[in-house]
């Protein structure tokens, strides 16, 4: 594999895992505009643990996942007190605070960042990505996934029908935190360097856009959205500024053309019906 290709696959895998972390909360109807904060926590805990204790790589990734999950679980309680726009901005505030704390603490390297001595090859990212994608597809096919969809569609009705709404929402935040932590750990180990400036507001916005443009109805959305928006800019390969300009145009056109995202339940049903005319999908 050429260096360019493996680098592209590495960042693609990290972006897909990151997109799924936002997808899980979005599938329960909560927009998380603080993705960069969760990823930063994973990346920095991986970097610090690696330098201080010299742990092995699987253990490092496991720990950054667990730390991400814990933070997601804990932050869910104050954030779930707010609703709608307030919730979007509360998660945004969380990410800004994380970035601010990192920038201001010398032990975390402040603005200069941290260098890691451990590193991983692309295949670790490939396997983690496959694992995460399979996990998310499985999760959405279980009763928990059904409960998540119910909460997304109508909280009050889901509550009336006996779905433990709060548990589903908090659980979604915890799973989202775990996946963001994992993607952060992979990022830190793959690039061997973390700096607070990378985890900025635009990263949070972009990852939310991956998910919303991919579509939140099915687990395909995050995969397709993240792949589309990582690979298409590579194909466009022009001046950096005009690349993002076209990205913006694509977003506006996409919202006019497919407001529910690229992949919708309806679209999947239509494709399955075309491919397997006899098999009927339920739901």
């Amino acid at each position: 594999m050429s260096g360019y290709l493996s680098g592209l696959i590495g960042i693609l895998g990290i972006n897909i895992i990151f997109a799924y972390s936002i997808y899980v909360t979005a599938a329960t109807g909560q927009l998380n505009l603080g993705g960069a904060g969760f990823q930063a926590i994973g990346a920095y805990s991986c970097a610090v643990l690696s330098e201080m204790f010299g742990l092995s790589i699987p253990f490092l990734l496991l720990l950054s996942t667990i730390i991400g999950a814990t933070v997601g679980f804990l932050i869910a309680f104050p954030i779930l007190r707010t609703r709608g726009v307030y919730m979007v901005l509360a998660t945004f505030a969380f990410a800004e605070i994380v970035a601010g704390v990192i920038l201001n603490s010398d032990s975390l390297g402040g603005p200069t960042g941290l260098v890691l001595s451990d590193y991983i090859e692309t295949d670790v990212i490939i396997w983690s990505t496959i694992g995460v994608v399979v996990f998310c597809f499985y999760l959405m096919s279980t009763r928990i996934g059904l409960a998540m969809r119910a909460v997304h569609d109508d909280e009050a009705v889901a509550d009336l029908l006996g779905v433990n709404r709060r548990a589903v929402q908090v659980g979604a935040f915890a799973i989202g935190g775990a996946l963001a932590g994992l993607s952060g750990g992979l990022y830190a180990l793959y690039f061997g360097f973390v700096e607070a400036q990378y985890f900025n507001a635009f990263l949070s916005i972009f990852v939310l856009l991956y998910v919303l443009i991919g579509g939140t109805q099915t687990a395909w959305g995050a995969l397709i959205g993240a792949s589309f928006f990582t690979l298409v800019p590579e194909l466009l390969r022009m001046g950096d500024d005009w690349r993002f300009f076209i990205f913006g145009v694509i977003i506006v056109v996409m919202m006019i053309w497919r407001p529910e995202g690229m992949v919708t339940r309806q679209a999947i049903d239509r494709i399955t019906l075309k491919l397997f005319p006899v098999v009927r999908r339920h739901g």
Binding site: G29, Q30, L31, P78, R81, T82, R83, G84, V85, Y86, M87, V88, L89, A90, F92, A93, F94, E96, I97, A99, G100, V101, L103, N104, P111, E155, A201, I205, L209, L212, I213, G239, D241, W242, R243, F244, F245, F247, G248, V249, I250, I251, V252, M254, M255, I256, P259
Partner: protein
Amino acid sequence: MVFTQQLVNGLMLGSIYISVAVAFTLTIGILNFLNFTIPALYMLAGMVGWSVSYYGLPFGLSEPLGWAPSLLVGITCSVLASLLVERFTYRYFKIKHGDSTEHAIPLVSSLGFLLIFEYAILGAHGSETRGFHTPFTDLNWRFADLVISIPQVTSLILSLCIVVGLSFMLKKTRIGRALRATAESPDTATLMGVEVRKIVPIVFVLTGLLCGLAGSIFAVNYSEVSPYMGDHVGTKAIAAMVIGGLGSVWGAIAGGLIVGISETFSIHFFGASSAQITVWGLLLVLLIFRPNGLFGHNAIGKGKF
């Protein structure tokens, strides 16, 4: 004395946040739409103003203009850009899906416009900070040790006048009544004879005007503009709006001043990069205890995403 000076600086900074926060709060209060293009509109006024004062109007229409006409062109540009956003985000979806439009859709679309405007300017003019020259850079009042710059006082008064005028307009005039009716319920407003389709562009014109004025005030006060100037002010203005409570004009004023003052104080006491923690920490703590902000209406901004 240092304390008073910081308080004055905070009030000046806050006055810029106020106009932008009012723009945010108007669109969210009346249309229930978090308009993320606002930072870009603010930046457009400054950058277009600079480019007209540096190169002159496009296509060789004129020589480089003076600062005031340039800024006027800049403000016109942000109003036009705002109407463009209205056409392709808000109006389009309302026609297609009516009141049941999912709130996330115009929001995402406006994020797309944010990228378009910002990177169009970046592609055209590069990312450097540009000096914007005005005849009054050194006009200051001095009381004992206190330094107050006259352009800044003027801009504080100007933005307060705009906001007071705006809330008078919302309260007393026909258009204001129509706007408030639309905010309550677009469908009922239509039944009562309000032409909602003609009212909505007014909100966007006001948004463009407020952002354009704030951007021009910034360019005059700090004598510099850059393609990134909207990001900082935009995020701080969002914080100001949330602290004040969505949809409340007076809340936006209080929030703007609170954010401005806490930012200057935290920079003074804890160093430049601490402002981020102070402002957003304040917001998060406030939201935990008062999920509606200080003066927020109970029903605004709570819609499902």
